[in-house]
């Protein structure tokens, strides 16, 4: 739903001075959590005690250590098919984060470029592109995701396509608004006088100034995409099983909340903590880099 935003308003009032002093350093705990997750994601093959895909029915639903019938070889228990929860969580971090990161890099590039062109060129190009944004936003996102996955078969690639489709309008709108206000600033006018070509102005002078706001939006979207992927898994159009993503795991264990809570609650907590940490970091980055930015 963060794809929804009111029309971008070029901020006119300057931010309030004290906000800049709010926090000079990033909040440590969320930063540590995100750092740890990155480590897990990158080093999953070395950290995971066993394969995330192997299991047998004889070992199904073993509880985590500390509960009755727990086994030391499965510290966080097993799922419905006897696969090790800890290993799946670690690999899940890898899958979930890579869906987010890959998806958002692509989205940010594409949406940002469209917004840049629209804002910089203005006129009919702008009108055309902004109506495209409207059209994209007006289509019911989840439904289009399901349709796309029917057309292309569920796969990692398909989830990425869905992410790009759902999120590009946010970036296009944001970047367009920023570009509009940057375009009229003095340094751009000076560059023009100095004889810089429009392309040079766009990429040399405007793009670097856009990056902070894109970064803020991207930080907030990482969490959104992880949750979105879970929703797609619930509808059967997410990352195809047996590949573990946190979304797949939560969806898989949704009927077991009382009987075997660890199957879905643990990945659920992983998602929760990640999203909250990323939101706090996003807030911080925003306050730090650009207090004027508010439409994210």
């Amino acid at each position: 739903m963060s794809a929804v935003g009111p029309p971008v308003i070029a901020a006119e009032t300057a931010g309030i001075a004290p906000r800049r002093r709010d926090r000079r350093w990033p909040p440590t705990i969320p930063l540590a959590i995100v750092g740890a997750l990155l480590v897990c994601a990158i080093f999953a093959p070395w950290l995971a005690p066993r394969s995330p895909l192997e299991g047998s029915l004889g070992d199904r639903l073993i509880p985590p250590i500390g509960m009755e019938n727990a086994r030391s070889e499965h510290p966080l228990g097993t799922d419905r098919l006897g696969r090790d929860t800890l290993s799946r969580l670690l690999y899940g971090a890898r899958i979930s984060l890579s869906v987010s990161v890959v998806g958002i890099i692509l989205t940010g590039t594409l949406g940002g470029f469209i917004g840049l062109v629209a804002g910089f060129l203005g006129g009919w190009v702008d009108t055309l592109l902004m109506r495209l944004v409207d059209i994209s936003l007006s289509l019911p996102g989840i439904l289009i995701a399901v349709l796309l996955s029917v057309v292309f078969e569920p796969s990692f690639k398909n989830v990425i396509i869905v992410v790009v489709f759902l999120l590009w309008p946010s970036y296009a709108r944001l970047v367009r608004g920023e570009t509009l206000s940057l375009k009229h600033q003095e340094f751009v006018a000076l560059a023009r006088i100095a004889g810089c070509s429009p392309l040079t102005i766009m990429f040399r002078h405007i793009v670097p100034n856009l990056l902070p706001s894109i970064l803020v939006l991207a930080t907030l979207h990482v969490g959104y995409v992880i949750v979105l992927e879970a929703a797609l898994s619930f509808l059967g159009v997410g990352i195809p099983p047996p590949t573990p993503s946190w979304g797949v795991m939560v969806a898989d264990g949704r009927g077991l909340i009382e009987q075997a809570w660890w199957v879905s609650i643990l990945p659920g907590i992983a998602i929760l903590v990640t999203v909250l940490s990323l939101n706090i970091l996003g807030d911080w980055v925003r306050d730090r880099l650009d207090p004027k930015l508010r439409q994210v």
């Binding site: 936003l137 349709l147 959104y224 949704r254 659920g268």
Partner: protein
């Protein structure tokens, strides 16, 4: 202004055309309803005959033209699966989705506005963080999971609310809450930052210097000025919630458009998918148009791109 409005209306009409083309093509790429419905005994000849019977063997442009001209007369074709006009099915269903979206947006406003204002005023305090964390929670938990959890707690454990279905005001609470919580964070953030901007402005300082009570400063002077983006956001949010109700409807067996259309996709029921998407898109584009025009009236300084 008039020229701007006419221009925007025309653009919206063109947008609807594009939407109709996109959805028309997308459903056709997704597969053949006859192949799904026909029993295994059906030969390819039988299937071809059925396809011809439903007019699906004609070239796409011809089909599209037929669809468009009929749709303009309010005829969205017969549902392949139910053998009834798609419009009838939508009219049967959209009420439930509007109810759900309405309740959800109400919950969002009731929670997000006061919390957003409060956390702007008390910025940096523990309560500010707590409120923001609570709001963020709705976005950090997959909706289907939250829904099932709520049904377990309030339906099974405490027997307070029905776990699924539609009918009484009680039935709407859990789905409404599940749908709404997700959106609380967005509106809250917006309220908070709009309030922060206004609170730092000259006239709020002036009001304070005049010695007005703080409550009056916040609600009468500051909030009133922060309300515009908040109200427009809420309007768009309502439409977005309609679009996003598919998962909640599936979890709670809520008989709205979301459940109708997701099953229509499964049976490749072209007329229903087309009609529902057009309906939802029209809502969004319409509200968006109104918001743009409203902004034009209220704040002529805003840069228009039209």
């Amino acid at each position: 202004m008039q020229r701007y409005i006419i221009g925007r209306v025309l653009q919206s009409v063109v947008s609807m055309f594009v939407v109709s083309m996109v959805v028309f093509a997308l459903v056709r790429f997704s597969g053949d309803p006859i192949q799904i419905m026909a029993p295994p005994e059906a030969s390819q000849a039988d299937i071809a005959a059925m396809r011809a019977y439903l007019g699906l063997d004609r070239p796409w442009p011809v089909q599209y033209w037929g669809f468009l001209t009929h749709a303009l007369h309010g005829d969205f074709g017969q549902s392949v699966r139910f053998r009834r006009p798609a419009l009838d099915l939508i009219l049967e269903r959209y009420g439930a989705t509007l109810e759900l979206g309405g309740v959800a947006v109400l919950i969002v406003i009731v929670v997000a506005l006061p919390v957003g204002v409060y956390s702007a005023v008390r910025r940096g305090t523990g309560l500010d963080y707590a409120a923001r964390a609570f709001a963020a929670l709705g976005q950090a938990v997959p909706q289907f999971w939250l829904g099932l959890l709520l049904a377990l707690i309030f339906g099974v454990l405490f027997h307070l609310l029905p776990t699924s279905g539609h009918g009484t005001p009680l039935h709407i609470i859990l789905p409404g809450l599940t749908l709404g919580w997700f959106a609380v964070a967005g509106l809250m953030r917006l309220t908070r930052s709009a309030m922060l901007d206004v609170l730092g402005s000259e006239y709020v300082k002036l009001a304070r210097i005049k010695g007005l009570p703080e409550r009056q400063v916040i609600w009468k002077h500051a909030f009133k000025n922060a309300a515009l983006p908040v109200v427009t956001f809420a309007a768009l949010l309502f439409v977005a919630l309609l679009n996003g109700s598919i998962i909640v409807e599936t979890v709670f067996g809520w008989p709205g458009l979301g459940l109708l259309v997701i099953e229509a996709v499964d049976s490749r029921d072209y007329p229903i998918v087309q009609a529902v998407v057009l309906f939802l898109s029209a809502m969004y584009i319409g509200v968006n148009l109104l918001v743009d025009i409203l902004y034009g009236y209220l704040n002529p300084k805003i840069r228009y791109s039209a």
